[in-house]
Each structure stands twice: as C-alpha cells, then as structure tokens.
Subunit: 503 residues, 2 copies
C-alpha cells in the first residue's frame, strides 16, 4: 500500500491526531495513568534531584562553582557502597568466579582465591549452569533450600523452599505482592506513619488506599495496638476494604525495633481482622542494642501456636541491599510466604514467571548472605572481621549523630536500635514556617533544602515519609564517612537557621 492510499484509508476513519496538529502527543498529563501521576517517591524526589544538580556543578566547575561546600554528602538513601562501605570480600570472590568460570580452573587462581571460595563457586555453578541463563522463576532451587535452612536456623521453625521466592531486591517482591492483593480501588493496606515511601508509591501505582497507623515517637517508635484497631475500624466504616498490614521492623525511617508484645499484638490483629501481614525485615542484620534484638514475625507467629501459627497469612521480605552486605546495586532479596492458600500461591508463582527471574548475580548474593563462611573455613576470619567492622562503624556513627542532634536547639532524636537511619524532630519557629509557606514548601522540606544549599548535606524531609500533623522531621542515613565534619556543618547551619527565623 502506498503512502497516499494509507492516508486515504485513515482519512475515512476517526483519528486521534486531532485537527492534524503535528505537535499532538498521545502521552500527556490528561492521558497518562492517573495512578502513576499520583505516585510519589521522596527518597529520590526534589531535594535529591537538586543535590544531583549541585554535584554536577561541583564536578564540572570545582571551586569556581561558588558553592559553600566542596562535596555533596548523600544521606538521603541507604546506599552504603556509594559511600565508603567496602563490599564483603567473600561475596565478591564468589561473584567474580561464577561470572568467569575459567578463573576457577586457572592454575594461578589458587594463588589469588581462598580454597573455600573456589569450592563454593564450583558447586554453585554446578547447580546454576551459567549465570547468563534464566533460572527457575522462583530462583535457583538449591539457593532457595539454603534460604530455608537460614530461616529455620534463625527462627527455630521449619521453612519450606517451595514457599520462598528470590527477588530483585525487597522492593520488587513488595510490588508483586501488592499487585496481587489489590483488586479494587476500595482496597486498603495499613501502613505505618512514618513509612518508607515505597509503600505509598506502590499503593498509588495499584490505585489502593493507604490506611495509616501512627508510630509513637515518645515510645521509641512503638505502636499502640488499640490505635491500629481504631484506624481499621474507621477505614472500614468509610468503605475501605482493609486487606493487609505492612510492618517495617527494624523501622525505616524510624530506626526502631518493635517489642515482642507489639509484634504479638500485630499478629492477633491480623488474625482477628483478616489481614495479610507484610513484614519488611530488610534491616534484620542492622541491630545496635543488645536489649532490642531482631525477632522475625515468622518466629513470633509460629511461637504463638493455634489459631495464629497456621492461619495468619504472612509474607516476610529480606534483602542483600542492607545489613553488612550492602549490595544495593546487585538487586537481590527474597520473600517467604506462610499460610497462603494454594490458589494464592499459584498466582504468586505466575507473577514471578511473567518477570522471568531475578538476576543470577542477585541470587548468588542471597546465597552468600544466607550461607556465609563458617568457623574453620579459610575465609571465615576475614569475613568476620569485615562484617563486625562495618557493624561497629555504623553503630559509632549513629551515636555521634544522635548526640549532636540532641544538642541542637529544638531538635530531639531517638537512638537507632536498628536499620541505618535517624529521624530527628525539629521544632521549627513560626517565622520559619511562614517562610516555608511563602516559598510554597512544607516546613521540613524548606529546612532540608536550606540545609542542602548551605552544607551539601542531602537528607529527606519527614513529609516524604509521613509524620504526626504539626511535627517536622528529616531522615538521614548514618552511613556517610566524616561524621565529625557532618556534625560541624549541620550545627553551624542549624544555629544560623534558627537565628535567622527567630521572632
């Protein structure tokens, strides 16, 4: 068919290229998926974008950029290896060897790699075949078996590899589960406030209703179960079909570890109210207080016995991005489902199939996370030293920062019990709030942007996570090196800011 006749054909029909305007676009704010338009993700939102601009300016112009700092300190995202955290050597050795199998048999390799790394890479490759092939959609079967052993050892309750899915990080798993769960715009999911904005973003993308429950800052960010139930009730009276409850433990952005009592209350509420319990446990290895150890929801659930243990639908998420592994760029994680109906399991499997499989590099990362070197292995001492060193550094940095925050006028801050974040409150003076309003910003965003412009420190305003109305926070990681310098810059800025906005 010639060009002319094609035009002729289409001219006979209604076309969308309205009034033959060549500048017509199919995709505009009026036609793009509303759910996508409404989704927000503050961790990579306006302030981090501004930080990126400033970083590029510094890189291209250096001192001529005319900025009052020499580098951007990225405290907006838990990305340890972007900062100074070194990868765990054993994991990277396994990774290199499985990527280039000729290395394993190379005569020089025994002078470069420890024997257990060579042995582990060899046996992994026997199981996997090639890291360049799609695996089973749920992940390599033998890796899922080792994940099950890890969970069983951790919890003292059996775990079944056929209920374990390897994922491209925890976020991918959360998105899949929410997609499965949400069947109507009336469906709702309980989320903590403050929360990690992946949840509000994923709920927005699925056109579902977030049902907030508040964490109590004055009770170490624990929760009041009566308040949770009140919120369920309120949401149901408003016509929301509340189907699930998200719990982030250790908390993000709050850095708390839930008490056992809180956890049991949550399980009971999920049972009584018919909710799927979604336990985000990616920070389970970032623990700083001996009196607040990590306990998994699986362990709590199974320990509670009938009728909870075998009936509450639980999905728990873990990741290689956090902990001392910190391998965010590898995109690896897993989730375990408990007490799902066979029909629901089938759908979880189908969603995984459509996505083919998570990257083998991520899967191998999970394998090393759940089965690290053991005492007596050639790599054990180095692995132990690296892991403990990272844990010690993070704990130290968190303590220095908390102390510094507490010395600032109008700022209070809970200690970090877990995770890699602090979430201090700032009592902003009325003049600052008015200035924010005049600038069309929320007061915490106004403060955070001013902090960035003055010091190069990039944090995320509390409004990106949610906070009690009338309170203002920001989230900062404690991953950045040079904590003393961070504190000095922050202190100077804060004093000047408070001075400027004094009545």
């Amino acid at each position: 068919m010639s060009y002319t006749s094609a035009l002729f054909t289409s001219a006979r029909y209604h076309t969308s290229r309205e009034a033959r305007d060549p500048n017509y676009r199919v995709l505009t704010p009026a036609t793009i998926n509303k759910s996508v338009l409404e989704a927000q993700y503050a961790v990579r939102g306006a302030i981090p974008l501004r930080a990126e601009e400033l970083r590029e300016k510094l890189e291209s112009k250096g001192k001529d950029a005319g900025l009052p700092f020499e580098e951007i300190v990225s405290c907006n995202i838990g990305n340890p290896q972007q900062l100074d955290q070194k990868p765990l050597t054993f994991l990277r050795q396994i990774s290199a060897l499985t990527e280039y199998p000729d290395l394993i048999s190379h005569p020089l390799s025994k002078d470069i790699f420890p024997s257990d790394a060579l042995e582990r890479a060899r046996s992994l490759l026997e199981e996997i075949g090639s890291t360049g092939a799609y695996s089973h959609s749920m992940g390599v079967p033998s890796i899922r078996k080792r994940v099950a052993n890890f969970i069983a050892d951790r919890d003292g309750h059996a775990a079944d590899p056929s209920k374990i899915y390897l994922t491209a990080g925890a976020s991918a798993g959360v998105s899949n589960l929410l997609q499965l769960l949400i069947s109507s715009p009336l469906d709702g999911v309980l989320i903590p406030i403050p929360q990690y904005p992946l949840y509000t973003a994923a709920l927005a993308l699925n056109a579902a209703r977030p049902v907030p429950y508040f964490l109590n800052e004055s009770a170490e960010w624990g929760l009041d179960i009566a308040d949770v139930e009140k919120n369920i009730d309120k949401a149901r009276h408003e016509g929301t079909n509340v189907k699930a409850m998200v719990v982030i433990n250790p908390g993000n952005p709050t850095g708390n570890c839930l008490s056992l009592e809180n956890m049991e209350d949550i399980v009971r509420v999920c049972y009584e109210h018919g909710l799927v319990l979604m336990a985000d446990e990616v920070y389970q290895d970032n623990i700083y207080h001996p009196n607040r150890p990590f306990t998994s929801f699986k362990k709590v659930l199974k320990g509670m016995g009938a009728p909870y243990a075998d009936n509450v639908e639980l999905v728990s998420f873990h990741s290689i991005s956090k902990g001392q592994t910190g391998e965010c760029g590898r995109r690896g994680g897993y989730f375990e489902i408990c007490n799902f109906s066979p029909e629901a399991e089938e759908q979880v499997y189908k969603l995984a199939s459509i996505q083919l499989c998570p990257s083998l590099g991520g899967q191998i990362g999970v394998d090393v996370l759940v089965a690290p070197p053991q005492e007596g292995d050639p790599s054990y001492a180095q692995w132990r030293e690296e892991k403990d060193g990272i844990a010690r550094t993070l704990k130290h940095r968190s303590e220095v920062l908390v102390e510094a925050f507490r010395e600032l006028e109008g700022v209070s801050c809970n200690e970090a019990e877990g995770a890699m974040y602090l979430f201090p409150t700032i009592s902003l003076p009325p003049k600052a709030i008015a200035a924010a309003k005049a600038a069309g910003q929320s007061p915490d965003a106004f403060y955070s942007l001013r902090l960035l412009e003055a010091t190069g420190i990039c944090v995320v305003p509390g409004s990106g996570f949610g906070q009690q109305p009338g309170t203002w926070h920001f989230r900062t990681t404690f991953l950045a090196p040079g904590t003393e310098d961070y504190v000095r810059r922050l202190k100077k800025f804060h004093e000047e800011f408070m001075q400027e906005h004094k009545e």
Copy 2:
C-alpha cells in the same frame, strides 16, 4: 495491651475473619486482583511445567523413570546459555573484574586477563564506583552515553543519553511503559498476532484491551496495513481507546524481519491515528538473511522527515538476553524514547526511580553489548570468532529444522529471517482435533503435549501466542544442540501421531 483486651477490642468491631473460621484466608480467587488471575504466560505455562516434572523424574530415577527419552530438550524459551551457548569471554572478563576490583590490580592478573579487559574494567569502575551501589535510576550516565553512540552509529541519527533508560531486560521496560500508558480499562494497545505473550500478560495486568492485528504467514509474516487500520477502526467503534501499537521486529514467535515498506506504513499509521509506537527490537542482532537486514524504527522514523520524525512517540527496546550475547540471567537491557512530551518523560523517570535501578551486572552487560572490542584491540579476534561462531551455529540449526519441518506431512514453515524461533503450521486431521476436544485441550496444545511425552522435546503451542482461527502452530527455538537428534525424534513422533489420527 494484653491478649484479652486485644480480643475484646476487636470483638467490638466488624472483623473479616468470618464466623471466626480459623481457616479463613484473605487471599482467595474471589479476592485476588482479577487482572493477575486473568494474565497468562504460555512460555512458562502448563507444558513447560510438565517438562519440569519430567526432568525431575529423569534426574531422580534415570532409566527407571520409564520414559521413552533420556533428557528434556527445552525449546520453549529463548535461553541460549541454558543450552550449549558459551558466554562471550570479553563480557565475562569485564564482569569478573568489576565484581572483584582487587583482581584488576593483582600482579597475576596480567597473566590471566587481556590488557583491554583490565583497562575497560578499570575505567568502568571509575565511572560506577561499586557494582554494589545503586546507580542513577536511569542507569550509569557514562553507559547511557555509550548506548547513545551505539544507536547513533547504527542509525545515522543522533541519540540523546537523557532519553535512554537502562532496564532489567526488555520485559521490565515494556511493563513500565504499558503501566504509564494505560489509564482506563477502555484503553487498548495494538499487538501482533501471533505475539510474544509478555504483551498480553502485561496488558492483562494493567487491565487494558489487546487490539489484535494479524501477521500474514503466507507473506513471510508481514502485515497488511489496511487490515491494521480496519482493526483500529473496529476497536474504536467498540469504545476502545487505542493508544499504542506494539511491533516485534525481528518477530517473536514468527522469526521474520519486516519490510521497509511495512515499517514506513506503521509509522504513518501511528502518526495518523495518534498511537505510541512500541518497537520490540531485542532480536536486532539475530539476522540470517542478507536481503532482510535489520533496520530500526528509529532510523525509519527519522528518515521519513516531517511531520513524522519529530512527532511520532516511539519507544524502542533492546536487551542483552538475545543476539549472540544471550545473557538472559543477567537481566539487562535499555529503551530509548523519542518525541515524548516533557511531562511524559518526567513520569517515565519517576517510575524508574521507584524501582531504584537495574542491576549493575546487567548495566555492565549493556555496556559491553554497545561497545565491544574494536579491531586492533587485544580481545577483538576472540570476540569476533565467538560471536560469528554463535551466529553461524544458529543459522545452521534453523535451516536444518526448517527443512525437516517441510518434509513432515501437513506441516509448513517459513524460514527464519531473524530472532531464534520457528513457528511451523500443522494441519491436524479431524480425528486429532476431536481427541484434543475430548481431552479438554486446544489441538495445538494436545499435539505439543503428546510431543513432549513421547520425545522430551518441549515446545509452546501456537495458542499461547495467538494464531489465525482454525490454524495450529507451535513455537520452537533453534538453540538446542543435537539438531539431527531433535529432527529424528520429531519425525518419528509426527508420523506416528498422524498415523494414529488418520480417518
């Protein structure tokens, strides 16, 4: 709060744990997202699942399994490295070196790795930092620059790194774009029939309407543009808001390359009818006929000049999973957007942000794909030999298979011009169709399942891809080694099957 009071509290409210049945489940076919329930993905559907069962039986019992074959031949999925395709050495060397940077500076490394691999890994790490850190959500900026250079060299038209997104394979990119595009259950997307079932699955997950257009088997799987327009018109008369057109070129499952005339017609139709053109070009490097080279839609679009070149919204997808790279397990790819409105670009970026970033291993794979060794580089000869060897092998296997198919009673098959699949038609006798009906299967599924049970060869029935009503096909990859053996087994089965179902 104690257990008793928690029970008491919840008893005051409506709860979903109906009639206190402890076996109540939140997630059931009645409550799970209907779109998920309805999605289908044949490539990993019933027949591949049955093949998996048979494989496990063979592995655990060997000859005692009592099966008439000794191994499963997986021809259901384009997964080259699951079969005998070796990874490209240069890619894997870069990968190993970037995973374990200590190797780069190790004194023994120059005896193991060629100097250009060491140099490339070193410069990549300077750009990336650590493969364990999240990158920019769109992908590492310098890799996107090299993708842009690759596109510009290929097409002779400029490409802009700020319009290029690295992805976790092409599927992830397609899913994101469709999620952005679909804003109502009345929205529709033109898809070829037959098609790769990712598209129907992704449309089902987004609750959108597939609008089919047929590829013409007797015209080398080309398309009749008047028929496409008729289908647009029909869909619009039925109330479907047709917003985009998917084209897979080279074709999957059809193995064809579109003519330039067809491609220009498609661009015109997208312009006239206001459609986003989604060009799945992942097989651009799997080309077998000198008279049917690959031409990108970008090149065609830009070559057509005004009003098309600067107005038709195009997104084109590429991947490291196919071609001679075949790195499916690494999950890497990219898409380039052209002529999107700034508002739409902003939303594409936001979706990428929420997903954090594709794996760095995948991104590095893309880097090697778009910037392989050049003539004169130490690695060039080996890279060239490996790449050409893979291409030759695939071409040979496709030719042997086509010839064999053409000799079978009632089977006809087009040659492969591109991709890694053949999609032969089978004229099944009425008795076979009746037997399929009695077994509750479609005739092509019945044939494919019988083929699997008799020979261990796993193919996907044509009904998984769509086909002209009343015709029956199956899709087979031509990746498997032992083509002669495949042919012998298939021939024996087919003759017996046709004999059995003779009138």
